[in-house]
């Protein structure tokens, strides 16, 4: 029996196919491969992609390598409804114009392509949250949302909830994207700090809005500390002691992070940082890479100035062997 005496049964295959779960309405790009076991060149033959409700697309086989025939890249849009779908890829040579004058007979072939469409994933971000916030005082935060499929979210609303899930406010996204982003929509929301002192955990939510395609709900948490209104100023001077027994001098340490409980500030060029704080008992700590200063307890009951000595750890000299 020769290859012209039998019906050739081609194999169908999807190349560069999307995952079995795709976003509703997403663009899907792939190729269809038809392989003839007898190595036939089937270029010019069409293949069909069909949904249950009817044909979606036809595409011509345009390349052949030893019986492996492929279409070019095909782009289709997934259904916009969430759920299970099944498309078929159909090879019907008799309905296509023949490539050769007396082609060997090729059987029809079909391939089922099941997949599931999902609601778009969105995710939230909350930033520029002041901490500490003063009890009972208003403050602003920025809230943003992004759809993984980069859907347009202009005019959509985001909600902010307190720790009990009660809605505090709603903010509407503007027309401009966050600078540098291609799809992060954002808004400013005004909030009021709760009346008690402590660390607060709130959240923002993006309701599953009535967009062109279904979207999942999203939420994200954020927090801040609350304090009483500041009553006193604490001036912290961070210095380094240099020199030996013959002559000691103090040198200011700029850009050191000064923490007093929940309050924080950086030292300026003179090594000073000023913190507006409420009276109370605190731990004062200093952080700067390459320096070490012990934390110390501090009682603040009036305006106060303290000096902290930080020791240079001489990391640049140590790095001579640590880096080699």
């Amino acid at each position: 029996m020769t290859d012209r005496d039998t019906v050739h049964e081609p194999q169908l295959e999807i190349r560069r196919w999307f995952a079995s779960e795709v976003a509703a309405g997403a663009e899907l790009t792939f190729q269809i491969r038809v392989t003839c076991p007898f190595g036939c060149d089937l270029r010019g033959t069409e293949v069909l992609v069909a949904a249950p409700e009817g044909p979606v697309l036809t595409s011509e086989l345009v390349s052949c390598d030893q019986g492996i025939n492929e279409t070019g890249e095909v782009t289709l849009r997934a259904p916009s409804e969430v759920g299970d779908h099944e498309w078929s890829v159909l090879f019907r040579p008799q309905e296509s114009k023949p490539q050769a004058s007396e082609p060997p007979p090729h059987a029809e072939a079909s391939l089922a392509v099941p997949f599931r469409t999902e609601a778009h994933r969105t995710s939230l971000v909350i930033w520029d949250v002041p901490s500490p916030a003063v009890m009972g005082e208003p403050f602003m935060v920025k809230v943003g949302a992004k759809c993984a499929e980069e859907c347009d979210l202009r005019g959509r609303k985001i909600e902010v909830y307190d720790g009990s899930g009660d809605r505090l406010t709603t903010a509407e996204f503007g027309d401009t994207l966050w600078p540098g982003s291609d799809a992060l929509y954002w808004a400013e929301a005004e909030l009021v700090a709760p009346p008690g002192e402590g660390v607060v955990s709130w959240s923002a939510g993006f309701p599953a809005a009535d967009l062109e395609f279904p979207h999942r709900e999203a939420s994200a948490g954020f927090g801040f500390a609350t304090t009483k209104p500041p009553q006193h100023h604490l001036t912290v001077e961070v210095v380094e002691i240099v020199g030996g027994a013959k002559g000691r001098a103090t040198v200011p340490v700029p850009n050191a992070e000064v923490s007093l409980g929940v309050y924080r500030a950086s030292t300026d060029e003179s090594g000073r940082a000023i913190l507006a704080v409420t009276k109370g008992s605190y731990e004062l700590s200093i952080w700067k890479v390459g320096y070490e200063a012990p934390a110390r307890a501090l009682e603040v009951s009036k305006d106060l100035a303290v000096r902290v000595e930080a020791a240079d750890l001489h990391l640049s000299e140590r790095s001579s062997w640590e880096d080699d």
Partner: protein
């Protein structure tokens, strides 16, 4: 054999009939370009004949090649890279070479070989506890002569600095940087100031240097008996792929291998530490990888490993906390875009000024340690290599990702674009944390990082910034929230560096087999040798010089 006919001829005939090609198999980072198999009947047709063949053009290799050539024998130096230098040329270039050198005397430092021996064999530090004291003793006795040798061969020394590591006195000289900028490989490291003068000297003295050739085997008379007669090597391209050309080089006096150690060879390094799976990248791998070529070829003809406890002493230069956003991310090594190997490196990486500016998470999106840990904190490495809970990946701790935000980038002053970062698997950016997690695509990130876990990790960390206390890992006063888009994930998996264990040698640098017998005609130096866990260049220069002199003077006796 060899009694009735002139020795050289008889050896050649013997080789044609029964020489054995030991195979350096299963080498490379992921790939095995070797195709030669052990075949006891395989005849070798030598393409070249020299007295001494040296494998590896780093510190040990150049010391060996020059020291041999100084004895008026012919020397060929074989190197896999397209340039000389090995990892020595990437190094800070400080060499542990004291014992009373002229530089020490100039600085008024009193030192002696006894003091070196004492310092490097004390029991109280894991870096010297496991050393072979015979190897250390001979090292100590030869430091001064080796320092003079380097000086005579053109190395120009800086004034002596302070004592470092285990040294009780300053004894670690550094060279001045090489003055020809186009020949400097890493401008911030002075290794070119060591290796370029040695290259000049070696070439001027007549050492033949064969670049872009990777040794594939040592040829020995019998499978595990007789002399080592020469080597086989294959030409490789700039990606270390074989070009198809091979060469067999007879070494009438001997073969010295100084191939740099085994750190890049995942299977080999896991003999010592099974945790070190494929995700851990290696210092200088984009310059010249430490493939264990010498070790494997030597073991194939009977050589013994030695001093293996040094490889698991869990201290010093075996691991580095790393730079960010580049593959081969040793913290102290940044290639510039004009480096000749930058096409392999792809990015300079980001140096972290303040580890408060980021958090570190595992592949599962969870923090695991205080991020401000030191760059050589082995408790940190233990945590980084801890199992992350996937039954399908039991060894290794998976990739570590530095997570930071736009504010962190601003505080650090980073430029987060190529060539500073490598977006091809080592650096990712997204508008939200969930999207950041799903954007991480790396061949070492074997499963997706769950976005909700990463978001919850960051939210929890941000709450520690509010409260001032890291309840999970006791980071000192967490200072900065990660909140302002965009967000970044940068590769910060610990980087493997030193090889501290290798092939057994005696104090003449001759390789010993598993019976403790010398393998005649085979020598080793540097990080491929076992018994001395010293970081860096000193031991490589000392034993390279010893090997070169011995092979030239005594090599034909064995």
């Amino acid at each position: 054999m060899g009694e009735k006919t002139p020795k050289a001829q008889s050896r050649r005939e013997f080789v044609k009939s029964s020489a054995v090609v030991g195979t350096a198999a299963a080498v490379g980072v992921g790939e095995n370009p070797f195709s030669i198999t052990t075949d006891q009947s395989q005849a070798i047709e030598w393409d070249r004949q020299v007295d001494v063949v040296v494998i590896g053009a780093g510190a040990g290799g150049f010391a060996a090649a020059i020291a041999a050539r100084d004895q008026s024998v012919s020397v060929m130096l074989v190197e896999q890279n397209f340039d000389i230098g090995g990892r020595a040329i990437l190094s800070g270039a400080a060499c542990y070479l004291g014992g009373g050198t002229w530089l020490q005397k100039e600085a008024g430092v009193e030192d002696s070989p006894d003091a070196i021996f004492y310092d490097w064999t004390m029991q109280d530090d894991p870096r010297n506890r496991y050393n072979d004291r015979e190897i250390v003793r001979t090292y100590a006795d030869n430091c001064v002569a080796t320092f003079d040798f380097l000086t005579e061969n053109g190395v120009d020394w800086l004034p002596l600095g302070s004592a470092s590591r285990l040294d009780s006195v300053p004894r670690r000289p550094s060279p001045r940087q090489w003055p020809i900028a186009s020949e400097v490989i890493v401008p911030t490291q002075r290794g070119s100031g060591l290796m370029r003068p040695l290259e000049r000297s070696a070439r001027a003295k007549g050492v033949e240097i064969l670049l872009s050739h990777r040794m594939t085997s040592f040829v020995r008379e019998g499978p595990t008996s007789g002399r080592v007669l020469g080597v086989t090597a294959m030409e490789v391209d700039e990606w270390y792929e074989p070009t198809g050309r091979t060469v067999a080089i007879e070494a009438r006096n001997g073969v010295i291998f100084a191939t740099g150690g085994h750190s890049s060879n995942v299977n080999f390094r896991r003999m010592f530490d099974p945790r070190l799976t494929e995700e851990y990248q290696v210092h200088g791998d984009g310059w010249t990888p430490q493939n264990a070529d010498g070790e494997l070829a030597a073991m194939a003809i009977g050589a013994s490993l030695w001093g293996t406890a040094n490889q698991t002493n869990e201290s010093d230069g075996q691991l580095s906390k790393g730079r960010l956003a580049t593959r081969s991310n040793y913290h102290g090594l940044a290639f510039t875009p004009d480096a000749p190997n930058f096409f392999r490196e792809k990015a300079t990486g980001l140096r972290v000024r303040d580890w408060q500016d980021l958090i570190l998470v595992k592949e599962n999106g969870l923090r695991f340690y205080d991020e401000t840990a030191g760059i050589r904190d082995y408790q940190y490495f233990f945590a980084a290599m801890q199992w992350t809970g996937d039954p399908n990946k039991l060894n290794g701790g998976g990739p570590i990702w530095a997570i930071f935000d736009a504010d962190g980038v601003e505080r650090e002053g980073w430029d987060v674009e190529p060539p500073y970062v490598d977006p091809d698997g080592y650096f990712f950016k997204a508008d939200t944390l969930e999207q950041l997690a799903s954007s991480i695509k790396s061949k070492y990130q074997w499963r997706p990082m769950p976005g909700d876990v990463l978001r919850e990790t960051v939210e929890r960390y941000n709450s520690f910034v509010d409260s001032g206390v890291d309840e999970d890992f006791q980071k000192p006063r967490p200072l900065y929230k990660i909140q302002r888009p965009p967000f970044y994930a940068a590769w910060d998996t610990p980087c493997v560096h030193d090889t501290y264990a290798g092939i057994r040698m005696n104090t003449r640098a001759q390789v010993l087999d598993t019976q403790g017998e010398v393998i005649p005609g085979l020598y080793v130096a540097g990080e491929s040798s076992g018994g001395f866990g010293q970081h860096g260049l000193g031991r490589a220069f000392v034993y390279g010089r010893i090997a070169g002199m011995d092979a030239a003077k005594n090599g034909r006796e064995g």
